[in-house]
Amino acid sequence: MSAPNCLRCLVRPSTAIPLAIPRQASPLVAPFAPFSTTTATAAKKEVKGHVRGGKKLVLGKFKKNKVESRVRPPGPGERKAYRKRITLSNDNAIQVPWLTDMGPGSLLDTANVAKVLALPEEVQDQLRASEAFKTTQSWKMFRKPSVLVRTETVDLMNRIQGAVEKRQTLRVAITGDKVAGKSMMLLQAMSHAYLNNWIVIHVPEAHELTTACTDYAPIPGTEPPQYTQPTYALKLIHAIKKANEKILAKTYTVSAHPELPQNIPANTPLLAIANAAKEADGAWAVFHALWNELTAQGANRPPILLSLDGLAHVMKTSDYRAPGFDRIHAHDLSLVRLFAEALGGGVQFPNGGAVLGATSRSNTPRAPSMELALAQREAEQRHADPAEVPQKDAFFRGYDERVEAVLRSVQVLRLGGVSKLEARAVMEYWAASGMLRAAVDEKTVTEKWALGSGVLGEMERASLLTMRI
């Protein structure tokens, strides 16, 4: 049926090529007329040009037709940004009339226990800059971000304040059940610090430092070799700068820093040092200079709060490899080392401050030394019988001496469930915001409280993230 030249020649047949043989095969069958009234000539379709008959080789004919979408695919990083986006306000939620803003001394006052306090606008921006808000927390449901003041909050803040007044450094590891409010305790400590014009350095997710997801480089001339994380350091400097801009502008350097990319003479605002970090290359030097300035003894410095979320990640060997393909211990990473030294009591802040590390119960590695050390410290804190203090397992090799050394003298704050009074306060806030559609009476409070024995996250799951609204 098909014209022979089609299969042979590579030239596309066109009218320009003179052809000796007819290019179109004559139809063998008369055209089919759909109706008896239609003439065969009318029914005959006008076929122009070359028609190829016979079997054709079709590749991939069993594949389904792909629908070409006209939607632009999301750009690089866009999907992650959507996932990580923090919404702090819900315009549908009802404004709570009795809600008051947190003040500089609010978290020290015992009268504020079992009250919900709102975060002031400025503190919101600072906390957002230091990534204290997390996507798993239900900020997006309420009109204004607010926190419940717990007994432990007031207790911890008073301890921090007491240490600051004595120019000491309080070192606390916060631990506790899943969704018990450990990160929220860090957030409260940070808001207290921001309200009192302290410097806050916060590592929002410790796993970003140790799971080998950011670049690293050895520091020459260190033995054992230490490693910097330039990109992360740059990000951290930007966060510190954005969150503490006002105080950094009012604090001045005590010594010159000729080693920085930008020459910083003495008596320059610390903000200038932070601004000197433009690229990841020199970021660690800048961070080091900033840290040295902040901890310079005898200088007039604000109190410092250093906090880290996800303590277990930095209390073990990291996923980074040394040139000999050995694993690098997390404490050999310079940023982590800095935190570990501060937590171990190796750094004295000039005007006092606090070092807080919170453990996490989700996506957390096992750090046997840390778990043991925290259990031991806890037993010592409650003056337990020496026989009851947990001891090392003699048949287990996974302990880490460096971690033990760091955690030898920290205090431990264990968070558990809240009291029913606190539960009632937070439930009344939910109800007043229109997010809990139930009368808050003793029965409802007890019902929700019992579901997680007072653990706030469980109560939240039972009353806010539920199909029964």
Partner: protein, 284 residues
């Protein structure tokens, strides 16, 4: 030990008798040492004591005086009985947590604890039998609806008559999703009877749908639209967010589900004469 002191425990302890005490069975000494007191534990007198057991309650030198509040309450109740009033609230007394109010609320049964639409839609969301995941997805959908701005309604795609105003919907996400589904739910389906129309064609006959069937069809249409959508982000909230976006689109009249509904209704109206067709007699 009675959980609380009320008139009944008081009456038990008072042991009022109409007949002479000597004629009844001799009571144990513990009974008489117990009075209206706060101390409800019985005290056995010593066996070898020569003192006779106190038989009369009225000579209650050993019982606690009527000073405590519970005693006062019990005495008040006694006085009310004396005046011919009923002092006992049956819903409170004798029950630790009181009696439930009748009729029971519709959602107090475990099997019907969720709204009927929400329950049905959750099962339709479920894949591979993972009900807990579907329930979590449903909770995320409801929370999305709670945080999205009030929908701007399209007058050409009217919601169900009697639907709450759009400003009320976000804070009541259950009715939000209910209104969305019920508004696009088709009233009929078109059933084809094979070969009855002649020439091998099927005879299409409109059939009415029940409430659950209507909702099911509507939500399947919504799910079809959702599966064609692209996710904006990533992570486990993406599927529920896409569903929630489609529900908002339905309420705002932007969704293609409305067209599907119109199509079904049009074809049903066009074929309604087939209901009287002789060939389907007895087949409906």
């Amino acid at each position: 030990m009675p959980p609380r002191l009320n008139i009944w425990s008081a009456c038990r302890a008072l042991s009022l008798r109409t007949r002479a005490l000597a004629q009844g069975p001799r009571p144990g000494p513990a009974m008489f040492t117990r009075g209206l007191a706060d101390n409800t534990t019985s005290q056995l007198p010593e066996r070898n004591s020569s003192a006779p057991p106190p038989f009369a309650v009225s000579s209650n030198s050993q019982t606690a005086g009527p000073t405590s509040q519970e005693n006062e309450t019990a005495l008040d109740q006694l006085r009310m009985i004396e005046y011919g009033l009923n002092p006992l609230d049956a819903s409170v007394e004798g029950h630790k947590y009181g009696l439930p109010e009748l009729p029971l609320p519709s959602q107090s049964n475990t099997k019907h604890r969720y709204d009927s639409v929400v329950e049905q839609v959750t099962r339709l969301l479920m894949r591979d039998g993972k009900l807990a995941k579907a329930q979590r997805d449903m909770a995320i959908i409801l929370n999305y609806l709670r945080t999205s701005p009030p929908p701007r309604l399209d007058p050409s795609k009217p919601l169900l008559p009697g639907a709450p105003p759009s400003s009320h919907l976000p804070l009541d996400p259950v009715s939000y999703i209910g209104v969305a589904i019920d508004s696009v739910a088709p009233l009929i389906k078109v059933r084809g009877f094979k070969g009855l129309a002649g020439g091998g064609k099927s005879l299409e006959v409109p059939m009415p749908l029940g409430a659950r069937q209507r909702r099911r069809t509507a939500f399947q249409w919504i799910l079809d639209a959702v599966n064609k959508k692209h996710s904006k982000g990533s992570g486990r909230t993406m599927f529920p967010h896409r569903v929630a976006e489609e529900i908002v689109a339905v309420v705002e009249g932007r969704s293609g589900v409305w067209d599907r509904r119109n199509q079904v209704h049009k074809s049903g109206t066009g074929n309604r004469a087939n209901l009287n067709d002789m060939k389907i007699r007895g087949k409906l």
